[in-house]
């Protein structure tokens, strides 16, 4: 009779184990990351009785020693029944009750994009075996309909246990294969909607802090153009909206640019060979006026009677004609000799009606977007703390100021109270468009019941040459709020609408994240996880299974440098904790038997996985003494052979392994 017995629990409680069956647990194991790992149990009896064991598939099983102590617990994952030379197997290992297909969706004109179907569920299988997800990749390019058909094929094939049949001349018996509760974390992909709000559609660079104040701005009614004699319009483009102030009243206001991109640099040309003749002629004996184009406003200085702002009517290197009506008078006759200075910059076109205005007024031209405000909403119910904001942007020129990002409460689509603010140097903004990171303190709580927003602003004055650009979605497809732009006085709504490319990320203690990941599977009766002291973004998009996500979190260890482990208790409570210090070693392994520090045998069948265990006698270990105790990464118990452990960090120095070239 075996020293060990089993208890089996179905959905409605304990399951009667037929007295006719001789149940013999064979081996069981536990690991540092997960606790109980796997087990195998032999059952002997009549074939008719053994065949009934398949009803246990998916049930919970415990291995109990003679003292009534449970030494292993987990789920029945597969059963093999051997009789009459045949081995009948049934397994849940490949079961999938929820399926998604990832496929290459053909695109018009060639090429393909990756796409996922929606998940398809087998509710009947889920009722019997729970949710077990599988994302399969199609082996060829598909359209949506093909992918959904393939999904149905996979779900139909895998939503039942896998039955196998093979030759086996062994004794009439059954073998039950079990997996520890922790392996349930392999059943689903982990999704965590908390910790990320983002809109990454981009492509439209919109300036931040582009503008200037200058006394050399001229307005031309005939062409509805504004000229910057200083050449400040180089970076002004058609489609931008600008606010002009400081000019004569008719030219002030907000304008939509229908012309821009005039990249001509400002030129100041001096010549002593210029002759002025009424009514509109200016001739340069040096032939240097070719830089002036028809419609250019320019200033003239250094003459006796013709200084001021002019508008070019007829171009030519040696001779030009100007508009007397724009200048407010005809050209006055004047001989060559004076050093005449012709100054011309660049221009923008205005979608509106300007009035003529010469240079002289201190005019401020501001492209909308002296600041930008992007409202946002949390995409999923809940609350979390914001750890950082990422803005896709670049810098133009060499701005010497800083960029400040305010995380604010939204107030009817405009910025409300500032919740947190972070400033970085403008030099930290990339020159080419990319993500700029603004780290927050991870203390501001964002709640799905409230609206929030991001204000991006520069600390210095606007500049026509040294400013920033933010990558925007010109189709404004973000549904969580409409971008607003500061024109220097008012939060404006751009037309057409825009949305900022942004990301707001949360962060959470890694141990807490691990508990959330486990609890999301709805099987753990509870979790206990002291904080690791290490935070990282908690958002997960469902690419990896919970098992892998948690393993990665635990591998990061604690802030004190200790690795973390996890155990699932018999009660299905999950304990996550830092690896204990080696000074708290509780066990000594001699041969295949585990003893406590007082020399008493441990519970028969006990697995010291995740524990420190002394090996050998320190007095005789020599230089190896410092290695004991060892940390047990895996322990396996055999009812026939006793305990075997696999210490952490033990590599066979004589096994060179495979060297990857």
């Amino acid at each position: 009779m075996s020293r060990f017995s089993i208890a089996v629990y179905g959905d409605s409680g304990p399951v009667l184990i037929p007295a006719a069956l001789d149940v013999r647990p064979v081996t069981w194991s536990g690991v540092d990351i997960g606790g109980m790992w796997d087990a195998e149990i032999d059952v002997f009896g009549a074939l008719d009785e053994l065949a009934g064991l398949t009803a246990w598939l998916g049930s919970r099983l415990e291995i109990i020693n003679e003292a009534g102590a449970a030494v292993w617990w987990g789920d029945i994952e597969a059963i093999g029944i051997t009789a009459d030379g045949v081995r009948r197997g049934v397994s849940l290992a490949t079961l999938a009750t929820r399926v998604q297909v990832r496929y290459a969706r053909g695109a018009a004109g060639g090429g393909a994009t990756s796409a996922d179907t929606d998940w398809a569920d087998s509710t009947a299988a889920q009722a019997a075996y729970g949710v077990r997800e599988l994302r399969v990749s199609a082996e060829r390019e598909m359209n949506d309909t093909e992918a959904e058909t393939y999904r149905s094929v996979v779900l139909t094939a895998l939503s039942e246990p896998a039955y196998t049949l093979e030759s086996d001349g062994g004794e009439t018996s059954a073998r039950i294969y079990c997996t520890g509760y922790w392996q349930r974390t392999k059943r689903t992909y982990y999704r965590q909607a908390w910790g990320l709000v983002e809109h990454t559609v981009s492509g439209e660079a919109v300036p931040l802090g582009l503008g200037f104040t200058s006394a050399s701005v001229a307005f031309v009614a005939r062409t509805d153009q504004v000229h910057s004699i200083a050449g400040y319009f180089k970076n002004f483009a058609s489609g931008m909206r600008v606010t002009i102030s400081g000019a004569s009243s008719a030219n002030n206001g907000t304008w939509l640019l229908n012309g821009g991109g005039d990249t001509r640099a400002a030129i100041a040309y001096t010549s002593t060979g210029v002759t002025f003749s009424p009514n509109d002629d200016m001739a340069d004996a040096n032939g240097g006026l070719g830089f002036l184009a028809v419609g250019d406003a320019f200033t003239l200085a250094g003459t006796n009677d013709n200084n001021g702002t002019h508008l070019l009517d007829k171009a030519g290197a040696a001779a030009i004609e100007v508009s007397g009506s724009y200048h407010g008078g005809n050209v006055v006759s004047e001989s060559a000799g004076d050093s005449a200075v012709f100054s011309r910059g660049n221009l923008i076109g205005i979608g509106g009606s300007l009035t003529n205005e010469h240079t002289g007024n201190t005019v401020t031209v501001t492209v909308w977007g002296q600041r930008h405000y992007q409202p946002f909403l949390l995409p999923a119910a809940g609350d979390w703390t914001a750890a950082r904001i990422e803005i896709r942007m670049r810098r133009e020129g060499d701005p010497a100021d800083n960029i400040t990002v305010d995380l604010v409460a939204d107030s009817s689509g405009a910025p409300g109270s500032v919740l947190e603010s972070v400033t970085i140097s403008g030099s930290a903004i990339p020159r080419t468009m990319g993500w700029a990171v603004f780290a927050l303190t991870n203390t501001t709580v964002l709640d799905s019941d409230s609206g929030y927003g991001i204000v991006v602003k520069r600390s210095g004055a606007n500049s026509p040459t040294d400013y920033y650009e933010i990558d925007m979605d010109k189709d404004a497809t973000y549904a969580g709020g409409a971008l607003r732009q500061w024109d220097g006085a008012t939060w404006q709504t751009p037309d057409p609408a825009l949305d900022m490319a942004f990301r707001v990320l949360g962060a959470e203690d890694t141990a807490t994240q691990a508990t959330f990941a486990v609890l999301a599977q709805n099987w753990a009766t509870g979790t206990d996880a002291p904080a690791s002291g290490v935070t990282s973004p908690q958002y997960r998009d469902g690419e990896l299974r919970t098992f892998d996500e948690v393993a990665a979190l635990l591998a990061g260890g604690t802030s004190t440098g200790a690795p973390m482990g996890v155990k699932v208790q018999r009660s299905m409570a999950v304990d996550i904790a830092a690896r204990p210090d080696r000074s708290v070693a509780r066990w000594v392994l001699r041969g295949a038997t585990l003893y406590d520090l007082y020399g008493k045998p441990a519970e028969d069948g006990y697995l010291p996985a995740g524990e420190w265990v002394h090996l050998g006698d320190a007095a005789t270990l020599g230089p190896w003494a410092r290695l004991s105790p060892v940390f047990v990464e895996r322990a396996e118990y055999s009812a026939a052979g006793g305990l075997r452990i696999e210490p952490a960090g033990t590599t066979d120095i004589f096994d060179t392994g495979v060297v990857q070239g």
């Binding site: 409680g13 009896g45 003292a67 009534g68 009439t172 206990d528 002291p530 020399g599």
Partner: protein, 447 residues
Amino acid sequence: MYLAITDGTTTVVLSGTAPVRGCTYFPGTPQRTLGELQPVTETAEVNLSGTAAAIRASVNAVELLILAAVQRQATGAGSRVYAMYKPVDGDATTWRSEITDGRVIWSTNPGLRRLGDSNPFVQVAVIWARVPYWEGAEVELPLSANGQAAATGGRTIYNDPANGNWVQVAADQVTGNLPAPIILQMTNTSGSSRNFRRVMVSANAYSDPANLVHYLQGEARLSGGTVTADATCSGGNRLAFTTDISTPTTFQWTLPQADMQRTRGRRFRILARIDYAGALYVQPQVRNSAGVILWEGDELAFDSIGGESWRDFGVLPLPPGSSETAAAAMRLGLSLRGGGLGSLDVLQLSSLDSYRHWELPPTGLAIANNAAIVHDGIAGAAYSLASSVRTPLPTAFGGPILLQPAMLQRLSIVHQIYTGAGGGAGEAPIAATMSVRAWHRPRRVTV
């Protein structure tokens, strides 16, 4: 000598009933391997004379019984087949040993198998494999209990370690020379049907059961918590306490030197009658008399316990390591973490000389008043018994309850019932009673 094989219905006497004339049989002695007795294979040389038909009928009957034995082993069903033996015909007791396999071999001497003769003399060898012990007759054990003298027919116990939750077997009642399983019948005498949820039985043979104090009242802790009078609790009080999820709350109880000199390093399971709302983490400890931790068990997690549950807090060596008669006093420590309030009534120190735990369905198994839960360790069965109808019980943990030969011993029993969803008051009623009876068959290696 008397030797027979029987399945309880058909009996073939191998030591004399015609046509059997007699046999030569010397019971084998089992060997021990890794501390366990191994099955015995042995031979009875049987002499028969009579008509050929009678001889053939007798041999056929033996072979049919052996077939039944083999089928019993293969299927676990059907009658068990025993070798029945007493060395002297006049002995009062016929000992039995279950046969698991066997065969009959006719003599290879032609003179001993002349069935063509009118009254042939035939010799056959009956070879069998049997279990490595002999069992005597089943007898009910006189039991004593708290305030009740030893008697058969049932002794009353309460679901309260401090108020007699034990029955005692006198040393001279357990004869034989091997530990022997028992039939333990626990009859619900509470006056009404109860939905039994779990039953725990522990046997103490080696830790001076007559004198060991096998419980610690919650209110007897050394410090901490608040003692609250409660007539529904053992000792009339309970220990109310609060816990924190990060900072453990530790309570300590004195384990007197006299008791440590009784337990002498043996292991004890801590069963606690406790009420706690929310998740609770418990780590049992053994400390020295100054409070220094000597031994810590695994931290155990419990989901919301609800009202008045018996919970298993793990196994401790008492005291750690020491088998000395001069063991010092110790302390039992319980390190508790959680986010709620609780109250601890009593701790039972459950000896593990043998231990059995029946886990019944979550909503309990209805046991009518005067119906019983029966653990038949002799037959390897467990069932509820009502009006002579047996209903098998599902899961049980641990080995069979074994009585140690020639030793005074006690069986301590606690149970929990189901009173409704979510648990609540009255699930471990201290006033609930059972009437306990026990039977055993003494086991011997040789007879």
